[in-house]
Amino acid sequence: MIDGPLHGWLLAAAVAGLVWWLHRGHRWRQPAVVAALFLWQRAAEQPGGRGPTRRAAPVWLLRAAVCAALVFALTGLSWRDLSPPPLVIWFDDSPSMLAREQGARRAEQALQRLVEMVGERPAEVRFLGSPDHVRPLRDIARLGPEPWPAQAAAAAPILDVRAGREHWLATDGATPRVRLVSESYPFHRLVQVGAATENVAVVGLVLRRALHDPRILGAVRVANLGRRPATRTVTVTAGSGEILRQRLELAPDAVRTFGFEMPARAAAEAVAARLDHADALPEDDAMSVETRPLTPLALRVGGACPTPLRQALTAHPGLRLAAAGATTDLAVECAAPPAPAGAAPSAGWRPTSELLEWLGPDGATRYFPGPWRAISASPPVPGASVLIRDADGGPPLVLAAPGWIRLLVDLDPARMPPGLDYPDLVSAIVGAARPPALLDPLVSRERPPDASRIAPRALAPRTAAGSAPAVPHSVDLTPVLVALAMALVAADLVFQGARRPHPSGHPRTAAGA
């Protein structure tokens, strides 16, 4: 659709009328001379009819078009595409959108409203937690809100809210993240759902070993994130055994922490805390942690290892000697390393740094600090051997292999006699091979308090909901109009050249008209 300011249209109409009027008078002042007027008598205008002064030369249309084109070019005429722009729905995937209200989750309610509002119009859905992934609204509505994980990120994402599209935001406005998003980007429409405000959640669960006896100490943290006082009962279980049951009365925004302990042998695979009297968001009423990191590593020590080293390994609180034939987590072999162990590094090996690093079995980067120099096909990766030599260029010290770390210790008693350094060496080696909490392992899980706030809040978006139309795609027609005007002027010149009086006294046109 051609779009332009109203005064441009009015001015163009006025100019066209002026051009017509000028040509009308011009034609009357310049009649055509004929040799014999009586030949034309039968073609005379009827009395009372529209006189010749009411007609203008046809060229007035050409010149009026030139003037109108220039007027439109000056007033900024543009072509606007009225077809609806692509619709992008930014969907809040915060945990609060999983809250159940009136038998349905907020996400389901939002999808239902979106489907009704969008109708047959194509729309794509982008989640705030993964804004680069695009899925059609129809697919999301068909699958329901379950397939996507709730994102509890606190940072506001960077959204590609580009012009030429219509952007909607579907949210409950419960989290600060979405409030920041709504204030940062110009959404054309805001679809807000949710009404429930009350929610009590388990926001933390932590376990650790006792230092001096075989017990496991724990703590559970419960928070009331609603606006009214709440009463709950928290239960901590390990496997099928109940460790703790406590009734709580929580004021709004109150956080309570309860400690508990249990024998190490009572620890199952996981310890769970649960709140009864489930509320709108049952997902945050329970929390569990695995107890496996609390168990000492099963260690096998090679027979060639010196006694001081064996004693140091055995005494390490994070290690336990595995029975013969049992599965081990760590093996220490004291022997000459395989080739090229014991000899100068082969070609291609080079010193890397004082700080040895490699990838552990979980993919995390591990460091081996110490006064040793690593010689490897840098960087060391699982599957490659790492030869560690001391700073003086002595014999190989450790050879690490993929999978669980296999420590091959080649100690030269002459250079490193048994002594108090052994426990430090063992601790350093094992600590580098396993997470640093080996001596005091701690397993914990926490939930950001904001992730459990479900109370909707009115948003103040940059664009008022439902009031801002999408910016249509438009093309500036000024260059086209200027080119058109120039072409019409050229046509007029050619036309006038053809009408220029010829020596014969009549226009050059074949018919003389």
Binding site: P31, L39, W40, R42, R55, G512, A513
Partner: protein
């Protein structure tokens, strides 16, 4: 730098060649007229001439033909007129009304070219040739004469014509009084009058004149461009016409030409028609027909 005069295109060499192939111009012209009309009336008496009547003296008459006794008796100069057995005296009558040059000036150019050429051919045949203009102010522009000297005089006089009169229509009827009886006429005009000048042509024939008509048409006669208002070249009168008026004008022009042709056929007049966009050679050939040789 002066503009080239249309008569510059008429060279004497061309005229000589044309005269050699057109020695029987007068006979050719006469053959197109009514039988017996070749006889002309001339004021004066000479060998081979037969007395016809007395008539009042008119400018251009030979003073030697004055009949003094009759003049004294009637108190007005009278001349004797004779019937001539062969063609001899001609007056080339040129229409110098405004329509001869507006809107198509080529019509005037061709008219004066044909005027000179016709005079040359007639003079070459041994006759006397004069020149008269019958525009808004009819006048005898050049008295009759013969020979090469008369040709040069006619050529000079034709160049002295300033051009067609800006206003006013042709008065062909004035030639009845202006041209002495017995002189044949070559009338060069567009004949664009409502009656195609038929009334005046009839009057001109009465004193047993022979008339040779040359009508010069123009493509502009029925074309007026895109303007809805037309102005008559001669009277200045304006007329508002409707769309498609050119078709009506073309039809009226065809009817006009047909009327003149029918009249000439019935009256035994020779009518040659040429177009203003033709060179004078083509125009003359078209009027005179194929060459003798």
């Amino acid at each position: 730098m002066s503009a080239r005069h249309p008569l510059d295109a008429v060279g004497e060499d061309d005229l000589r060649r044309l005269a050699r192939s057109r020695t029987s111009l007068l006979r050719t012209a006469g053959s197109r007229t009514r039988a017996g009309s070749a006889r002309t009336t001339r004021a004066g008496a000479n060998a081979g001439w037969e007395y016809r009547e007395h008539r009042p003296y008119l400018p251009g008459d030979d003073l030697r033909r004055l009949d003094w006794r009759v003049s004294a008796r009637r108190s007005h100069p009278y001349v004797r007129t004779f019937d001539e057995e062969r063609t001899s005296d001609w007056v080339v009558c040129l229409d110098d009304s405004a329509s001869m040059s507006r809107p198509d000036p080529r019509r005037w150019h061709l008219a004066i070219q044909l005027c000179l050429v016709m005079a040359y051919l007639l003079l070459n045949g041994g006759g006397q040739v004069g020149l008269a203009l019958f525009g808004p102010r009819p006048q005898f522009w050049c008295p009759p004469g013969s020979g090469r000297l008369q040709y040069l005089r006619l050529a000079r006089r034709l160049r002295e014509i300033p051009g067609p009169q800006p206003v006013g229509s042709a008065h062909l009827g004035a030639l009845v009084r202006l041209v002495p009886p017995g002189r044949h006429l070559v009338v060069i005009s567009d004949f664009l009058a409502e009656d195609a000048m038929i009334g005046n042509l009839t009057a001109l024939q009465r004193p047993q004149r022979r008339l040779q008509l040359v009508q010069i048409t123009s493509p502009a006669d029925a074309a007026a461009g895109a303007s809805p208002v037309l102005e008559d070249a001669e009277s200045g009168r304006r007329l508002a016409v409707r769309e498609g008026a050119a078709d009506t004008a073309r039809l009226a022009l065809a009817t006009h030409h047909e009327t003149l042709s029918r009249y000439c056929l019935g009256a035994g007049l020779s009518l040659g028609r040429c177009h203003s966009d033709q060179p004078w050679q083509n125009a003359l050939m078209g009027m005179l027909g194929p060459a003798d040789d």
